[in-house]
């Protein structure tokens, strides 16, 4: 009876008319040990199907979340940098002015300081000028050489004659 049923199912199976449930019945039948000898050749087929159902995909899939970079943030950063730049520029400029024009609040102090520093400059300047005094000796020497011109004049008169 069972065998009869299976044979009918097999025929339907080959015609592609079986439902999934009926196919399951066939699979169960052929995976058991009591398969009729004349249906033996179906056994590897169903066995193969069952074995293949077990195969699994084991490889990893690298799922990277693609970061879409938002260019708006660049402009935000740029504005921030600019603002910082303006903010820090102010104090630097004012300290530069202080440095350039001195730190004296009282004009008298400033005048005293200026006088002393100018005096220092002039004294150093004079040191240099006193050494230049030796150059006058050279002038004396050259004026003495002036007599040689007289000699040249007289010799030229002699040679003319």
């Amino acid at each position: 009876m069972v065998l009869n049923n299976i044979e009918k199912l097999l025929e339907k199976y080959e015609n592609g008319e079986t439902s999934l449930k009926e196919e399951q019945v066939l699979k169960n039948y052929f995976s058991s040990d009591t398969v009729a000898p004349h249906l033996e050749m179906y056994k590897p087929m169903f066995e193969y199907f069952l074995v293949n159902q077990q195969e699994q995909f084991t490889k990893d899939v690298p799922l990277k979340t693609k970061r879409t970079f938002n260019y708006k943030w660049i402009s935000v950063a740029a504005v921030a940098v600019l603002m910082l730049g303006f903010y820090f520029k102010q104090p630097i400029e004012s300290s530069y002015k202080e440095y350039a024009y001195g730190t004296y609040d009282n004009p008298k102090d400033a005048l005293n300081e200026l006088e002393t520093s100018l005096a220092m400059i002039s004294s150093h300047f004079n040191k240099g000028a006193s050494t230049v005094g030796y150059l006058e000796e050279v002038n004396k020497g050259t004026s003495a050489l002036g007599y040689l011109n007289e000699i040249e004049k007289t010799t030229s008169i002699i040679f003319k004659n």
Partner: protein, 169 residues
């Protein structure tokens, strides 16, 4: 959509994708690459995933198309995909000994079938989809699926009977 949500959708059928790819491409490595590719494509289009009525069927169609592209490009290069699964992951040595030659025969017979029949056998007898789903995945009509399935089953049976008889006669 977060990664876990995506995995929850994809996990149930990733093996099916892999097996279909392997059915078409034969080599395990190629099938793994194909599966990876298909899953990555899904991941990239994850925003649209909610719009698909049936993600599983959609992925199977994608796999089919991807494998066909693969096969075509291999043919164009005049390269044949060689069956070179040096290490057999699916069956342990013990199991392999138990399985007799005839199970391998089935694999060879199925490999020789036309691609369409191969896929239908894979989807119906191994993955156990119903006819309507298969028809949708393969972009065929219902009766065409049945006809092809019937042909494939008959071919397998005939060839198996032949080899089965070699042992006796």
């Amino acid at each position: 959509m977060t990664q876990t949500e995506f995995l929850n959708i994809v996990m149930p059928f990733k093996d099916k994708v892999f097996r279909l790819a392997k059915r078409l491409l034969v080599s395990t490595e190629e099938a793994e690459d194909a599966t990876q590719e298909v899953l990555l494509k899904l991941w990239k289009n994850k925003k649209k995933i909610q719009e698909y009525k049936n993600v599983e069927a959609f992925s199977m169609t994608m796999t089919k198309n991807f494998c066909f592209d693969k096969l075509k490009s291999k043919q164009a290069q005049n390269l044949k995909i060689v069956h070179s699964n040096y290490e057999d992951k699916q069956t342990s040595l013990q199991k392999q000994v138990e399985l007799n030659d005839s199970v391998d025969w089935v694999a060879k017979i199925i490999e020789d079938l036309p691609e369409q029949q191969k896929m239908i056998i894979q989807l119906r007898d191994i993955e156990e989809y119903d006819y309507d789903e298969i028809a949708k995945m393969l972009d065929m009509n219902n009766t065409a699926v049945r006809v092809n399935l019937s042909r494939a089953r008959k071919t397998i049976r005939e060839k198996l009977t032949n080899t089965h008889n070699y042992g006796i006669k």
